[in-house]
């Protein structure tokens, strides 16, 4: 088939489509056309990424050189099943979020800024896909910088005092993270002489006995640098402000996709550039495991203490990113595969949670949790979708949250650390403590439901359709958990 033979160039084509079309938007006067371009390009990217995925599953991973020079001199993309699957996830979730934004974004940001918003979103998704696909560390750094600036942009676009404060905090902390990441690259380059991950893997085997400390330093710099950006526990302080003050569409994008891009980059550097056997001997994975476990517990504890519903969900992201780091820290193939699966599960679930909460805040105009008592009668579909997301977060069977917790528990037992199962259990119970009150007070209670009119504030089904699609995606990701986890453990080899 011609389309499948061309599929090798599709990852690059996706990036080009997204990044070039982004700059058409400020030239267009009509906001409807801007929205059409944005959604259309994202759908094209989504279709292309699915074709790439089919090609990779059939023919195995491949390397695609960019431009006219081969690897050590030129740049290349490395597409394994893992990268292809993450590409599918990013483009489809971003597409659904953009579809939701068609109806709600104008209520949150001024209409003359709409073209710039969609410009930033396209650049952001393009840069994130660049991080995922690229096999060259410095190229990844450039994409990291682009995505940082674009994600600060989609926070600050609301132009209120709290947004500017949150975005400045985010900008300063993530610039610190990029700086550390760049220093990590410099250390690694100085001992291996390469920026291409495949070649670093070859060189580092010889270098590890000569320069063990340099490797340790660079790995720590990578972990802390990318940890700041992906909200690893003690470095998460920018996240609640940025995610809670941004427009709900931005929060969904930031929480479900942007955090994940940097985690994927860390996984690629640790396990592809340096390799399992080398990283296992370093103390870094233990550090990641401890910080991940701390994040799982403390993120949930902080979430319980919050009063605004968006801040609760933002702190919940800290806890969920903790699960991903926990999986990486287990230092087994199953652990990392489950971490990648959790990237999948959390991305769809958190996007759904932020969009439903955005719909609730939009129709009621309130932000506090206590104001949402009895909302289940007014907005049954919205709160129903929220409930599905909450159940997945807490870990009810079939849903992705359960699958990743179950497999993380299995992985921690097989890694010889059964005590960690207790941390997973405690974290699940804490998750239930802050998600279930919203649902219970929303649906039940005599006093809560008094004077509420059934479906009085419900948004039209047309506007909630993207969120319903996301809920189907949540169920789907839960159902195909087994093949996905197998795919990821294949992709890391």
């Amino acid at each position: 088939m011609i389309s499948l033979a061309m599929a090798k160039s599709f990852p690059l084509l996706i990036l080009l489509i997204l990044l070039i079309s982004a700059f058409i938007m400020p030239l267009v006067k009509n906001n409807r056309v801007v929205k059409g371009i944005s959604l259309g390009t994202m759908m094209m990217a989504a279709v292309l990424s699915v074709i790439t995925m089919i090609y990779v599953v059939k023919n195995g991973s491949f390397v695609y050189r960019i431009g006219h020079w081969d690897a050590p001199w030129g740049i290349e993309f490395y597409i394994s099943p893992m990268e292809a699957a993450i590409g599918v996830l990013f483009t489809w979730v971003a597409g659904l979020i953009l579809w939701y934004s068609l109806y709600s974004l104008e209520k949150e940001i001024p209409s003359e800024k709409l073209p710039f918003y969609y410009l930033l979103v396209n650049v952001l998704i393009g840069a994130l896909l660049g991080i995922v696909y690229s096999n060259d560390i410095f190229n990844c750094f450039v994409f990291v910088e682009i995505s940082t600036l674009a994600s600060c942009g989609i926070v600050v676009i609301k132009d209120k005092k709290e947004n500017i404060k949150a975005a400045l905090k985010y900008l300063i902390l993530s610039c610190l993270g990029s700086g550390l990441f760049l220093m990590g690259i410099a250390f690694l380059y100085s001992i291996t002489g390469n920026l291409n991950m495949t070649f670093i893997y070859k060189e580092v085997a010889a270098a590890q006995y000569v320069y063990p400390n340099v490797i340790l330093i660079s790995v720590v710099l990578f972990t802390i640098g990318l940890g700041v950006k992906s909200a690893m526990f003690p470095l998460h302080t920018w996240l609640p402000d940025a995610h809670s003050s941004a427009p709900s569409v931005s929060s969904a994008l930031l929480s479900s996709l942007v955090l994940k891009g940097f985690v994927i980059l860390l996984i690629k550097i640790l396990f592809r550039a340096l390799g399992f056997t080398l990283v296992k001997e370093l103390p870094i994975l233990d550090l990641i495991l401890i910080l991940g476990s701390l994040g799982m517990i403390m993120g949930s504890v902080f979430a319980i203490l919050q009063k605004e519903i968006k801040r609760v969900i933002a702190y919940s992201s800290v806890a969920q990113v903790g699960y991903i780091f926990f999986g990486i820290g287990l230092a087994s193939e199953l652990g990392v595969a489950v971490a990648l699966y959790h990237v999948f599960g959390h991305a769809v679930t958190k996007a759904m949670l932020f969009l439903t909460v955005g719909a609730m805040i939009e129709t009621t105009g309130k932000k506090k949790i206590e104001d949402f008592k009895g909302i289940g009668k007014e907005m049954p579909i919205t709160l129903g979708l929220f409930t599905l997301g909450a159940l997945s977060m807490v870990g009810i069977p079939i849903l992705p949250g359960f699958v990743s917790k179950w497999n993380l528990a299995l992985a921690s037992i097989s890694a010889g650390k059964p005590i960690l199962v207790a941390i997973i259990l405690i974290s699940s119970i804490l998750n239930a403590l802050y998600y279930f009150p919203v649902v219970i007070h929303g649906f039940f209670g005599e006093e809560n439901l008094k004077d509420r009119v059934y479906k009085s504030k419900q948004k039209p089904v047309k506007e909630m359709l993207p969120v319903i699609c996301l809920s189907v995606a949540v169920l789907f990701v839960g159902l195909i958990s087994e093949p996905l986890i197998q795919l990821f453990s294949l992709g890391l080899k």
């Binding site: 090798k8 160039s9 690059l12 084509l13 080009l16 990044l19 070039i20 700059f23 058409i24 400020p26 030239l27 695609y64 050189r65 960019i66 431009g67 006219h68 020079w69």
Partner: protein
Amino acid sequence: MNHMILQVVSKIMIPFIQVFGIYVVLFGHLSPGGGFAGGTILGVSLIFYRMVYGKAETRLKFPFELMMKMMCGALILYGVLKGYSFLTGGNHSYLPQLPLGTPGNILSGGYLLPLNVLVGITVTVTIYFLFTLFYEGEI
């Protein structure tokens, strides 16, 4: 800054700054310099003009819409040109590329000259926007 001496001096200086900027952009592939350096120099000339003649007059000469169109057009063209080069190289398809020319001529170096010009336009507008946003808060 409505000052007679400044205005007279700047009338003499700005053309020279701009010619030098254009020179740095166009000779970027042959000598030190290039799109970024030359674009910065061109952007400085616009900043100079703005500081001396004020907001209203600069807006007449360099309106926001025009600058935005130039910048976005340059970025799109850059993406299309370089994307074509990337795709043909990656697919090993031997489609026509820009000729390399004789080394030393201005029209040589394949993609370097047009890309330098496009970078120059983008950097000019960005530098000008950055300055005005920090200086007066609006463009």
